[in-house]
């Protein structure tokens, strides 16, 4: 009985701690969200939460960002980057994990050594190279760097997963006359679904939110992705009269990913964890 009482009290303490932590974590976001729902000219203290519900600030942010255009740019570049990352990464990991040779081992370290090197570092030579090779500046140019920078993590993860797919099933398929391409695409790849989910979630969140490469490679406004479109609000940060619109644009920018998270919450959680635990 006494023990039960202690468990009850410790449960309550744990809950209080967790609730306080959540409030502390979410307070900035909640305050900003409440102000984003005000009219542009409402400059009451931002701590008076949810005093007004208006979409005026959202409408202003929507127009200033050219939301449909930048959303489309973001969707297209993130989507096509992810397809190519999954394709290149899984294909490269197939020989690396299946063939036990010095070259295979070398390739593995060749790729994973990139895990520690910051992406910003290579930007000077890469920017030089892109202008030297006359690669045009389009909304697709940053994709080159998204794919490149994803290779270390993607090959690292896929190599780990392919190793756990038994070789015996491939041997059986070989005897039945299945070629390499068919074995990979129809037998091995479908078994790598957890790895693919993890790659899509982790790399997808990063690419969707990245403003660095688009900022360096894109100059035309109609080619901006969502986070780059946010950069034009940089001056409003210190101008309280523009804050309601700025806050609305923050939530417009985050909205697509928040919706995705609401739908695929389980995949997000397992995908983020799988990437680290498998290593």
């Amino acid at each position: 009985m006494r023990n039960g009482g202690r468990v009850f009290i410790s449960n309550i303490l744990v809950r209080i701690f967790l609730i306080l932590y959540c409030i502390l974590t979410l307070a900035p976001l909640i305050t900003v969200f409440s102000s984003s729902l005000r009219t542009i000219g409402n400059h009451r203290s931002h701590l008076d939460l949810f005093v007004e519900f208006s979409l005026e600030s959202y409408a202003a942010a929507y127009n200033k960002m050219d939301f449909p255009q930048v959303l489309l740019n973001s969707l297209v570049t993130t989507g096509s980057s992810l397809v190519l990352i999954v394709l290149f990464g899984s294909a490269a990991s197939y020989p690396i994990s299946r063939i036990k040779s010095k070259f295979g081992k070398f390739l593995y370290y060749f790729f994973i050594s990139g895990l520690v090197i910051p992406a910003q570092m290579t930007i000077i030579p890469v920017a030089q190279m892109i202008s030297g090779l006359k690669i045009p500046s389009t909304r697709f140019t940053p994709m080159i760097m998204f794919i490149t920078c994803s290779m270390p993590f993607t090959t690292f993860l896929y190599t780990g997963f392919i190793k756990s797919v038994p070789v015996e099933i491939e041997e059986a398929a070989y005897i039945d006359g299945a070629g390499l391409l068919r074995r990979f695409s129809q037998m091995v790849f479908p078994l790598l679904k957890p790895a693919t989910v993890s790659v899509i979630i982790t790399q997808g969140i990063w690419i969707w939110n990245d403003y660095f490469f688009p900022m360096v490679f894109i100059s035309k406004q109609e080619q901006y992705s969502l986070p780059v479109a946010m950069l034009q609000f940089l001056g409003d940060r210190e101008n309280p009269t523009q804050w309601n619109v700025l806050f609305a644009s923050c939530f417009l920018c985050a909205l697509p990913l928040v919706i995705m998270f609401a739908i695929f919450q389980k995949q997000f959680i397992t995908g983020v964890a799988a990437g680290a635990i498998k290593g």
């Binding site: 967790l18 900035p28 060749f110 030579p125 080159i144 290779m151 939110n209 700025l246 985050a254 635990i277």
Partner: protein, 297 residues
């Protein structure tokens, strides 16, 4: 049944390596090759436009050292990484341990803690610029409400605290990811083991310290290494919130690399700093990996 070597060669022929060609070519062209070029640039006075640059030996490195840029930038970056690693891992581990009990509404807490990681760094930078803003900002306002004088609050302009204010934002954003990884690690522990410990009279703290913690040591290593790398790469919030200021107090390695290259057009100098960053990051990561594998919890 044992598969002979010749047999394996038939099932897994060398031509499989063709599969790796797309990945190798893009990775070599835009990652490996640029790093070699970076070495090359670091010994020149290249400014990004004029192709007739000269070889100037170690001068870029010497200037970086003489100006004091190197020391201040490296010490800022090391403080950043150290505080980030310690704080985010401790908080995330405590959260994960608490969430790993059978609280019914734990999915709600988990979602709340993970939520900030969904936002782009640029949005987070704006939100926290508001939080830290003097006068009308969230903290200044809260101080006023609580009867403290919030009018003097301006943390981003403080030489002493601006760096920590920025690290705080990074901790806030990354706890979610770290916590999810710890939670997954804790969930791989065999429940039979824990039941046996309860029968043997293990208290909650003993269980955590002597059973769970050693069993998730691999997870701890991964999380620590990941946060160290993140800390050493720190760039976003300096760029969005302080531009390295006040003075040079929040200049980090990666932000300075960017600023030297794109604002000051000193590509050679920026390349030299990149090389220093490269060596530092590799050295710290390898040292940490060796150390973490030796420590017994």
């Amino acid at each position: 049944m044992k598969t002979g070597n010749g047999n394996a060669g038939l099932v897994m022929p060398k031509k499989m390596f063709l599969f790796a060609i797309p990945a190798i070519s893009i990775y070599f062209t835009f990652w490996v090759f640029p790093i070699f070029q970076l070495f090359h640039y670091s010994f020149t006075n290249f400014n990004g436009v004029n192709r007739n640059y000269r070889f100037i030996g170690l001068r870029n490195y010497i200037i970086l050292m003489k100006e004091g840029t190197l020391t201040s930038v490296i010490s800022n970056t090391m403080i950043y990484a150290a505080v980030l690693v310690i704080m985010s891992n401790i908080i995330a581990l405590v959260l994960a341990a608490l969430l790993n009990t059978n609280i019914r509404e734990r999915a709600i807490y988990r979602t709340a803690a993970y939520f900030p990681t969904l936002f782009s760094a640029i949005v987070i930078g704006f939100v926290w610029s508001y939080v830290y803003m003097p006068g009308e900002g969230m903290i200044a306002n809260l101080m006023n409400i609580m009867g403290l004088d919030g009018s003097g609050f301006n943390v981003l302009a403080s030489f002493k605290y601006a760096l920590y204010a920025i690290i705080n934002v990074d901790i806030w954003k990354h706890i979610g990811t770290t916590m999810i990884i710890y939670l997954a690690g804790l969930q791989t522990i065999d429940s039979n083991l824990l039941e046996a410990a309860v029968i043997d009279g293990c208290t909650g703290w003993q269980m955590f310290r002597f059973i769970k913690l050693p069993l998730i040591s691999a997870t701890i290593t991964i999380n620590v290494i990941l946060t160290v790398i993140n800390g050493l790469k720190a760039y976003d919030y300096v760029f969005i919130m302080t531009n390295g200021g006040p003075g040079k107090s929040t200049n980090t390695l990666m932000y300075t690399v960017y600023k030297l290259a794109f604002t000051e057009q000193l590509m050679g100098k920026s390349a030299a700093l990149s090389i220093v960053a490269f060596i530092l990051i590799v050295a710290v990561t390898i040292t940490m990996l060796i150390y973490m594998n030796k420590v017994e919890l």
